[in-house]
């Protein structure tokens, strides 16, 4: 079912929950991987994904379809991730720990990470990037979104996104060069 039909179904009397379940079924995996690649941990990704959908449910009555449904959901998920990372950063600062190191450790000990050494090195390098650069890199590199789509999600100009992606790629290459 396409997004237009899903939203029309949602607006029908008594069909709201059913339509929303279909939306969850359609987009949960894509959103989950988007979140997971930023936060590394499955538990954190699960919490953030659920929060994303709860916020989507609450916001759906006011959704004006000015953007695509998926772009809107992606934006909610991204904001959840950014808020989460901000909180983690503050908590780490107060407890005098390094959050990026924590992320590396998660990757090392995570039973739900099945990559080889090169993949592990790549993802460690990504986790070291500043959070917005991390988002841009993942959305372009893994999700293969167009810059215009990323621009709509993050509210950043295409030019700035291209520059951000270029810097991220350079940093990752240098990091992998050292590690491997």
């Amino acid at each position: 079912m396409d997004d237009k039909d899903l939203l029309a179904l949602y607006k029908e009397d008594g069909k709201g929950h059913y339509a929303f379940n279909l939306i969850v079924g359609k987009y949960s995996e894509r959103l989950y991987w988007h979140i997971r690649k930023i936060v590394a941990s499955h538990e954190d990704a699960n919490d953030l994904l659920q929060n994303t959908f709860i916020k989507a449910w609450n916001g759906l009555p006011e959704f004006r379809e000015e953007s695509k449904l998926f772009t809107w959901l992606y934006r909610i998920a991204t904001n959840e991730v950014l808020t989460f990372l901000k909180r983690k950063k503050v908590r780490s600062f107060l407890s005098l720990t390094d959050y990026s190191k924590q992320l590396e450790n998660i990757l090392e000990s995570d039973v739900y990470f099945n990559g080889d050494a090169t993949q592990k090195a790549l993802h460690k390098a990504i986790l070291k990037l500043p959070k917005k650069q991390r988002l841009v890199f993942n959305m372009r590199y893994f999700d293969e979104l167009k810059y215009e789509e990323i621009s709509e999600i993050l509210g950043t100009s295409v030019g700035a996104l291209k520059a951000s992606y270029h810097h991220a790629t350079q940093k990752i290459r240098e990091s992998l060069q050292e590690l491997l």
Partner: protein, 140 residues
């Protein structure tokens, strides 16, 4: 010259993460349950909210009235002897009023009224409410 690391290898774009078995299958029902719980809580709250508002308003008005009464009540600021005079005067007024009422009230006619047995606790309570009587009794 060292070769630049090629990050565009297809192998690197593969997803190395995994999830617990059945995670996505159960996710829909988990989210659906959370939404249902949230909706029922919101329903209950919207039911209670207007009642709470009404009760709060009445409580506020009552407190304001009580506060005003306390503020303007004369017996609160008087000294001991003044309080005694005030209370004696009040007693006298009450006695007059009571006699007037008794005149018309058959129930309290001393010729026909049987002697009532009064609970000692009621006496204590009565004495506690008016310290002036106790003071007068102590003078005798």
């Amino acid at each position: 010259m060292k070769e630049k690391f090629n990050i565009d290898q297809p192998h690197l774009k593969e997803n190395p993460y995994s999830v617990p078995e059945g995670y996505f299958f159960s996710l829909q029902s988990t989210i659906s349950d959370r939404i249902s719980q949230k909706d029922s809580k919101v329903g209950l709250w919207s039911l209670i909210k207007p009642q709470l508002a009404l009760v709060s308003t009445f409580a506020l008005v009552f407190l304001m009235g009580y506060g005003a009464m306390k503020l303007f009540s004369p017996s609160v600021t008087e000294s001991g002897s003044e309080m005694l005079i005030t209370n004696s005067k009040t007693l006298e007024d009450n006695h007059l009023e009571a006699s007037f009422i008794d005149f018309f009230d058959d129930e309290t006619d001393s010729l026909t009224k049987k002697t009532e047995i009064v609970d000692p606790e009621e006496i204590i309570e009565y004495l506690n409410t008016d310290a002036g009587i106790v003071y007068l009794a102590s003078l005798e």
